[in-house]
Symmetry: none
Subunit: 247 residues, 2 copies
Amino acid sequence: MNVRLRHDAIVRSLRRNGTSTVDALAEEVGASRRTVLRDIGALRDEGYVIHSEVGRGGGLQLDPQSMQPRAKLSVPEVFALLISVAAMRAAGNLPFSELADAGLAKIEKALPSDKVKDLRAFLECLHIGQLSPLQDLSDMGKMDPDLLVAFETAFLGRHFIRFDYSDAKGRKTERQVEPQAMLILPPLWYLVGWDPARDDFRHFRMDRISNPEAVPTTSFRRRHVPFEDDVCPYSELRPERRSSHSW
Amino acid sequence: MNVRLRHDAIVRSLRRNGTSTVDALAEEVGASRRTVLRDIGALRDEGYVIHSEVGRGGGLQLDPQSMQPRAKLSVPEVFALLISVAAMRAAGNLPFSELADAGLAKIEKALPSDKVKDLRAFLECLHIGQLSPLQDLSDMGKMDPDLLVAFETAFLGRHFIRFDYSDAKGRKTERQVEPQAMLILPPLWYLVGWDPARDDFRHFRMDRISNPEAVPTTSFRRRHVPFEDDVCPYSELRPERRSSHSW
DNA sequence: GAAATGGTGCCAAATATTGTCACCATTTGT
DNA sequence: ACAAATGGTGACAATATTTGGCACCATTTC
């Protein structure tokens, strides 16, 4: 008998009978005592809560609550998780990131494939740089959620994005750019866009952008974003270029 | 690589790329052509509809409508995701963290309640500080997975943890401490422990710890860890104290 | 015809699972 | 106090499964 089938059989038996013993289960599923104990360990690792009491009258019991409904996440939620883990990865050699990847892999597997394509496309343009020094920590205003929505729409739909911008000296301009990438240098986020009017890349601190709006177009094209010192807002930080996405 | 993981990887790859070839998949998942073909057969048996065309320009294609299983994460995977998002949160005011929290809340709801308690307990002792400057970036050795396992065991089981330590000057000592917290100042991780022999807190760079081992005890007690300048390894960084866990 | 593709059968090698056995710890009934 | 019933662990050899390599076939496209 297969491992999976045996696990299923054990769970079903516990569900049916409410309680049982290792030896009884062993005979029921046609395996040895040791194997059943191993299986129970595996089931516990998977999250099943199996109470056990030793001694006469003891036995195993499956906690009914451990068979909760599985998580059903919305696409934006998955999206947010993906960004978190990608950022973790970029932030340095952090433990557990492989596990987190495995978890996300499962989540990704459960998503409709067209959404997955969207998410990946969006992440392709996320560049998470090396972490910033403490300067500017208090400078970051609250991120405008509308901007993110507008950017996501613009990026996925290959639209221009139009917004009002205040530069470091307080000068206000109106911009319309092809959104090419987002650059994250915590705690600051930048929009990297190609400005057709200036025929060049420009980067914009996202907290200085207001009234964002996606503008449908046909001429949008994806460009290679040169993350060189002249584009990077904090040239001294040498933001790491993420060349491959392992998950 | 496990069979299940490989199957997952294949499905994900097909979802992502839309189409692929046996050889490409074989290289991607690190298995032989034959194995991939067997896997594809197995997946078809499971109900996945995988179209295939032979000849130049042919390849495999996953029918998007064939299957949409829900995500079912293992407890360690959820654990890793939680840490990722907690780290994101601590790293600064990053967008999407609310969404990620919402997603995790759903995942948490789907977990058995005692596991949730474990996760929370572990996270209680995770202090993620402000991000470090670029110094020391290459200094971090590869994290020993055993150490994390030992620490998790010790923390959840309220055990001491014993290990060999080499300090900055290369002096080697053996330590036995009550694990009180983990301090993360990317890319460095620290174990903050109460040293009964010295009747004081000590912190240890986790890459300088070797031969970790959980030591059962009855006298362990949780203490309030003072994250003050004299404890924080990078006093200039003023690690942010996480006062509440919103998820 | 050559190259690229999916697909199958076979078998030895590599890997994973399983059973056996010897223990240990706890609880309960006599 | 003792025995029996229970869960649990470690080690190791036996067994089962998975995997890789190979030869080969069929179809399609250039």
